[in-house]
Each structure stands twice: as structure tokens, then as C-alpha cells.
């Protein structure tokens, strides 16, 4: 157990030393959101900017104001939604890119690395992580489809249902199953991220990839994943708790952004701790020593 804690804290140490990367990730996220929200912001300005309705709109959920906007400025709403979806795709590609950067950064344990390490890692591993992400999307789609098929196996026609309670029960069970499956999938995904960083050639045959994963998997990854999730949950609860005491919108906003930064940090810490666990067990490739030439 102490080894797991060591990996976890080592990951945090690495992150703290490389806080600038975290700042960079945050700024990118902010930038993408800023660009994505642009048309919506303009639309809001155009629709509500000169109207007293703005007061109601910004202070609570105003159904009439929203309905009127959709009815009378529907094209603008459509454009805003399309833009946001475009940036979802861009953000997805960016997240694939920065995963490589984060993995590479984590290789430099106890080191304050140059941002070049991050960019290099991102560029170098982009396509292999992109491929992994596509696989993951397919796997997620398959899991969701299976869950849906299971949920609807007796049909959803209300005329054929004796009671909806068994559907609700089935739904609850499937949610639990889904959580467990996605939890395990995310572990295998992150192990895969760590493994494929080292591979010069990734076999295209999926079965061999799964074999490599299976050989690498130990229950320590589960414990490590639970540790990461535990602290994420803890911070989330703290965030919710603090939020309830705050009356100022701007303070809530700042708190939410702090939580977002924590979520970005969580990404790094999880990947880095998996990386350390992997290398400790397999010793496939040694971590760079502290006098890394990449040091800034």
C-alpha cells in the first residue's frame, strides 16, 4: 500500500514542479472555451444586450426568455451550438496531444522539466494516442450499446410492461455495471497509455494489444485508480460544500475554476502514478534521472 501512496505522491511532486504545464493546460482550456463561446456570447449580446429581460435571464433560469430566444433567433442558437460542437472535436484532439506530453513529463520524476519535453511528447506520441482514443471510443460505444440492448431486451413498449419498476431496477443494476466496467476500462486505457509510450511499433492486431495489457495488469492499478478517484471525490465534495456557503456569483465561478484546475491536475497525477507503477514493476525503461538534459 505504501508503494501506491509513494507513486501517488511522487506524481503530485512532479506536477508541482511542473506547475507551468498545468497552467498551460488550463489556459488552453480557457482559450478553447473562449473561442467556442464566442458566437453564443455575440448572440446573447445581440438578443438580450439591449433588453431588460437580461436581468431575469442572468439571475435565474428564465424559461420565457430562453423560449423567446430560440423561437426568434433560432439560427443564431443553431450556429452557437455548432461552434461549441466544433470545439468539442478540437478539444478532443488537444486532449490526445497533451496526454503524450503529460506522459513524457512524468518520465522526468522529481524534475522541473522544460515545456519542450511536454511539446515533444505530445508531438511524438500523438498518432499512437489518437489511435488508442479511437479504439476507446469504439469500446465505449460497444459497452453503451450492450447496456442499451440489455436494458431494452424485453422491449420498451409501455403496453407490454406490467410495471415500470422492473425497468427501473434493471436500469439501476446496469448503471452499477456500467460504472464498474468503465472504471476497469479506464484502468486498462491508462495502462495502455503508459505501455504504448515505450513501443517503437504498435501491432495493429488488437488481440496482441489486449494480451500485452492483460500481462501488465495487476490489482495495484485498481488500488492506484481508487486512490486517485478518492481524492478527486474528496475535492469535489469540498467544492460542493464551499459552493453552498458562497453567495457571490464570481466567487462561485472562481471556486469552480479552481476545481477545474484540480481536474486537470488529476489527469496528470493519475497518468504519472500509473507510469511509476508500471515502471517499478516492469522496469521496461528506466525513468530519466534527475540530471536530465531536458531540464530547463
Amino acid at each position: 500500500m505504501s508503494a501506491i501512496w509513494d507513486y501517488y505522491t511522487a506524481a503530485w511532486k512532479c506536477l508541482i514542479l511542473n506547475w507551468r504545464i498545468l497552467f498551460l493546460l488550463y489556459m488552453f482550456s480557457l482559450g478553447f472555451a473562449f473561442l467556442a463561446i464566442g458566437p453564443f456570447s455575440n448572440l446573447m449580446d445581440y438578443v438580450y444586450g439591449d433588453s431588460l429581460v437580461l436581468g431575469d435571464m442572468t439571475s435565474r433560469f428564465d424559461y420565457s426568455a430562453i423560449a423567446d430566444m430560440i423561437n426568434h433567433y433560432g439560427d443564431g442558437v443553431q450556429l452557437s451550438i455548432s461552434t461549441v460542437f466544433s470545439f468539442v472535436v478540437i478539444y478532443f484532439l488537444w486532449s490526445v496531444f497533451y496526454t503524450g506530453g503529460l506522459i513524457e513529463l512524468s518520465m522526468h520524476k522529481n524534475t522541473r522539466s522544460s515545456t519542450i519535453v511536454f511539446w515533444k511528447g505530445g508531438a511524438e506520441y500523438f498518432f499512437r494516442y489518437l489511435r488508442l482514443s479511437v479504439y476507446m471510443m469504439v469500446i465505449v460505444a460497444i459497452i453503451l450499446s450492450l447496456i442499451f440492448i440489455f436494458f431494452t431486451k424485453d422491449g420498451l413498449n409501455p403496453l407490454h410492461l406490467k410495471s415500470e419498476d422492473f425497468l427501473i431496477f434493471r436500469f439501476k443494476v446496469l448503471v452499477i455495471v456500467a460504472v464498474v466496467v468503465f472504471f476497469m476500462t479506464s484502468i486498462f486505457r491508462d495502462i495502455a497509455k503508459v505501455i504504448i509510450r515505450d513501443m517503437s511499433h504498435i501491432p495493429f492486431i488488437l488481440s496482441s494489444n489486449f494480451k500485452a495489457l492483460a500481462q501488465t495488469f495487476t490489482w495495484r492499478y485498481v488500488a492506484l485508480s481508487l486512490t486517485n478517484l478518492f481524492f478527486l471525490g474528496l475535492v469535489f465534495l469540498l467544492y460542493i460544500l464551499l459552493k453552498t456557503f458562497m453567495s457571490s456569483t464570481w466567487l462561485v465561478l472562481i471556486l469552480s475554476q479552481i476545481f477545474l484546475i484540480y481536474r486537470l491536475a488529476y489527469r496528470f497525477v493519475r497518468l504519472a502514478s500509473f507510469n511509476y507503477q508500471y515502471r517499478a514493476v516492469k522496469a521496461v525503461l528506466p525513468l530519466h534521472n534527475q540530471s536530465s538534459p531536458d531540464r530547463a
Partner: protein
Amino acid sequence: MGQAPLSPRIANYDMEISLDVDNKIITGKTILLWKNTTDVAADELYFHLYYNAFRNSESTFFSERGVPDFLTKNIDENCGWGYSEILKFLDQDGQDLIPDAKYVSTDDNNAKDKTVLKVKLSSPVQAGEYGTYTYEWKAKIPQTMPRTGYNMDYYFFAQWFPKLGVLEAEGMRFAKRAQWNCHQYHSNGEYYSDFGVYNVSLTVPIDYEVAASGELIAQSKSDTTRTWTFRAEDVIDFSWTTSPHYVVQEAAYKDTRIMLYSYPEKAHFSERYFEATQFAMQYLDEHLGEYPYSTLSIIDPPIHGMYTGGMEYPTLITSLTFNSFPAGFKTAETLVTHEYIHQYFMQMVATHEVEEPWMDEGITTYYENRILDAYMGTRESFIDFAGIKIGSKEYNRGEFFSSEKVSIGDNTLKSWEYKNGGYKEMAYNKTAIWLQTLEGMVGIDVMDKIMKAYFQRWKFKHPCRYDFIDVVNEVIAEVLPEEYPEGMDWYFDQVLYGTETCDYAISSISELEPSVSRGYIANTKDCESGDAWPEAPINTKILIKRNDGLMLPIEIKVNLENGEHKMYKWDGKEKVHSIIVESDSKVTSAEIDPDRKIHIDKNFINNSLVVEQNQKGLRGYIARCMDTLMHGFELMTMLI
């Protein structure tokens, strides 16, 4: 029971009904006691045979609605179709009139529709006289159709027995002479019947619970069956339901027993049902008049009987709840309130739902919005879930204006004349919106006076739209003669008979140049331009536009920099109207209809205009959206 008649009691039914659950058949023997209230002799009777709407796909009902899949798939194994047949129809002399009876198509010339049966009488019923007829009939129960039918061991019977049409006397509603009013069974709209007394004995399997219109007056049982006898007085219809699974719970409002029949898995909704119903009962009791019946039964159908939910019958209403819905979805409260209001509008004030659906559904929706907003708050009476709060009134307005059928027709269309859709929008939504607007214009006290007068004058009668308009004009003439010297016909011409929409907008606010003296001021040598008048007021011109055709008097509120405001009125008729505001303080904003009285205005956003934008509020809102988006980005990429 046995109280002094509240209604004319024109069509009275004694029925003995037997339910065969194995073959899905009901057999009935009916004794009809009918009074001819016209001044001419009646030599024929018209009957609704509603269940023939489910006889086959050729019926008017299905040609309007479309045939559901379950009636076409595996039809050989499981025939879900139904029918209704009168086997024997005996007059007072014991003569069977069925051989000469024939099906007629009163509305659409659909010869294949068998939902109206004309029975030629061998001896006419004279004006003012009673006729007594005994008929035996049977019906195959359809698998759950809209409103009626069976599914598994759940049965709901609505529009289920051969029922007499209405012989309208000359001058009644639109009748220019005495005439039968008996429409075919259409996809939309059901009610128009004479008041009467129903004594109904229902024989069902012994383990089945029964809920029905009226009051249970007797019960008897054999080895395998139980007979439940109900009596409903001064009602226009009778419906019932049976199932072995009903759990019965009871509450009360004054002397009325409120009974809830639900399946065990939904019994926990009782508190929500009872509280909402009691609130609605008290509200209408205070605003319109008392509910005169001793019972009110609420049926919450099982999920396989959901097509029978959300319906109204005399002293019996159906709602619909789902265990999978969060409590913030106020389905239970909304439906039970809506259907209860129908006890007033269509049951007591017995309008013609097929010919004038707005008088039934529209007025009910108007009161539904009022009651629910009063009960649960104007901002959350429809949905209060995950930060999304929507009031009943605002949902109704949003639903209407989101539709593409806002101007599809006027409110006088009959239910089957909405051939391209729009029935719900016109009958329910639009009517409620223009009644809400009328309330805004005349004030809620006057509106209450109108509605109370309408209810009190027309309860247990059959009014038409002219009668409603007459009441409005009478009350307005009495209490608001100066505001509306010509009455309110101009209003009904637009909202009831017209299809125009309403949109007023503040177009611009511009400060005029200060008044300056020009010309020969000091002497006549020089023509000059003087200084601005000291203490001259600031003149601001506010331009208001009427974008659409509907014209209503509106109020304009002008807000000033010093915190004060000025109110202006405009009859709303010109296309463009300007107001010059004279004030010592600058105008900061102007707003049309600040109290949202004109509910029918389709765009509230352009109702106001500010001189300087409140960028701070907007920035805060956008920042919150950005924050949500950033979290969304992260969430989305968590899985990959």
C-alpha cells in the same frame, strides 16, 4: 343521493353490465328514459356507438389518427380491435326498432364509419314528453386505445356504451330549428351529452376492484362475480374501471370523498395527488362555485394502461405518473388539477367539446395554469428539477409559440377540422394565453367576476361561444364601462375569430436636442441662435412598433435615471407610435407591458430597451457558460 335535481335530467340510464374478462366482451341491458325538451315531436333517435371507432381501420377515428402498430402486427393471434352492437332495441310498445336502424355519417360522409346509429321511432316522442326504451347490446373491448380498452387485467371504460345524442331545441346554441346533434367519434374531442341520472350495475370477477362515476350504493356477490351498483346524478356521462390490482386510498374535501385508485407500485403518489386535488377543489370552490358531487375518484393507471391516463369523466378522472420521473416533474399535480377543472368546464358547464374544443380544454388550461402557479409558485409549478424551473403558465406560452402552428386556424374550428394539426395549440394553448391576456387587461378581480358569472349562469346547461362572450360583455359593461365602452367584441374578433399574432417592440430611445431659441431674440438686428433654455426639461423620444397584426391596448413604463418612472398608455393600433418623455432626469430604459399582462405577445425580449447595456450582467452570464463548457470539455474527454 336523491337530492333535488341540479340539472334538467334529460337522458337517464339504468344499465346492467356484465364483464367477460376471458373473451373481452361486455354485455349490457339499458333502459333509457329520455325527455324531448324541444317544441317538436321527435321521430328518430341518434346514438353514439363509440366502440365502433375501433371496429377497423376504415373508421373516421383511425383515418384521422392513424392505426397503431399493435393493431396490425400479429393480428391473427391477438385481435385488439373492438366494436359495439345493439342487439335489440325495444320501444314502449315492445317493438324492436333495430331492423330499421342504420348507421349514418354526420360529419365526413364516411360510409364505413359506424359510430352513429339512427333509430327510427315507430311512435314519435311528443314535445315535452318522455320516451322509455330498452336495449340489449354487447361490445368487444378493444386493446388499450386512447382513453379506453383493456390491457392485461386492467380495464378502463370510457365512451363505451350506446349513448344518446342531444336533440337541440330551436335557439339552443347554434340550432336554427330543433335538430339532433350527434357527431361521429373523432380522434379529438368527445363530449356533448344531456344531463341525466345513471344507475349502473357492474358485474365483474369477484377479485376485481371497481371505480366508477358517482357513488357506490350497493354491492352483491356470487361465487365468482361481484356486482357493484353505482348511481351518478346530474352528469353527462358515466365511466368506470376495474382491475384486481387497485389499491384504494381516501381523503376528503368538505363533504366530498376523494378516492385514489392506483397500482401498488404507484400508491406512494397519494399525498401529492390528494394535496393538489384539495388545493384545486378549494380554489374553484372559492373562485367559481362549489363542487356539488359527493365523490371524486382519481385513477392512476398502470404503465400498460397509460393511454387511458390524463382524461376527465364526471366525478372520475385519470392521471398518470411514472416512478422513473423525478419528483421535480410535476406530472401528478398537473394532470390531476387539469382533469379536476374539467368537472367544471365540460361536466357542469357542458360545452360541446367537438364543436368548440376551446371552451372545454382552453378554459381548463387557463385555470390549470392559475391553480398550479398559485399552488407551487409561478416559476416552478411545471418543472423544478436540477436548477431548471418552469412555471405552468410560462410553459404553456412557450409551448404554444414554439409550435409551427401558431396561426394555423382560428379558435372556432371544430375538433376534426384541424386536418393539418394544431388542435392542441389552438384548443389548449392559445385559448389559455388569450384568457390570460384578457385577465391582464381587465384585472384579475374582474376576470374572476366574469368567470364566476359564466359558471353560475351556465352550469348544468350547454353554452356556446356567444354565451361566453355575452357574459364577458355584460360584466365589462357593468364594472369597466369607461375603459371598454364598446365591450370586448373587438378582442374576441381578434383572438377567437382571428389568426393574427401579437408582437410589440420598443424600437428606439433617443434624446432630442435641447430646446434652443432661434430667430430675433435680443433685438431685431441680428438673427441669432440662443442658449438652451435654462431649466429646460430633457425630451426623449421613444419609438414603439407593432410588428404583427393583433392590436391591444398596452402600457409603457419609462424608467428614469433618478429612480422614478413614468407610465404611458397606447391603444396599440398604429404600426408605429412615439412618446415624447419630458423629464428632468434622463431616460434609462423603456418597457412595454411591464407587468406581463399581455401574455399573448410572442416575444418578450423586444418589449424593452435600455439606453446603456448592462455589460456586467451579461459578462457574468457568459463567464458562467464558459465555466460550464470547460467542465464539459473535461468530462467529455474523461472516457477516452
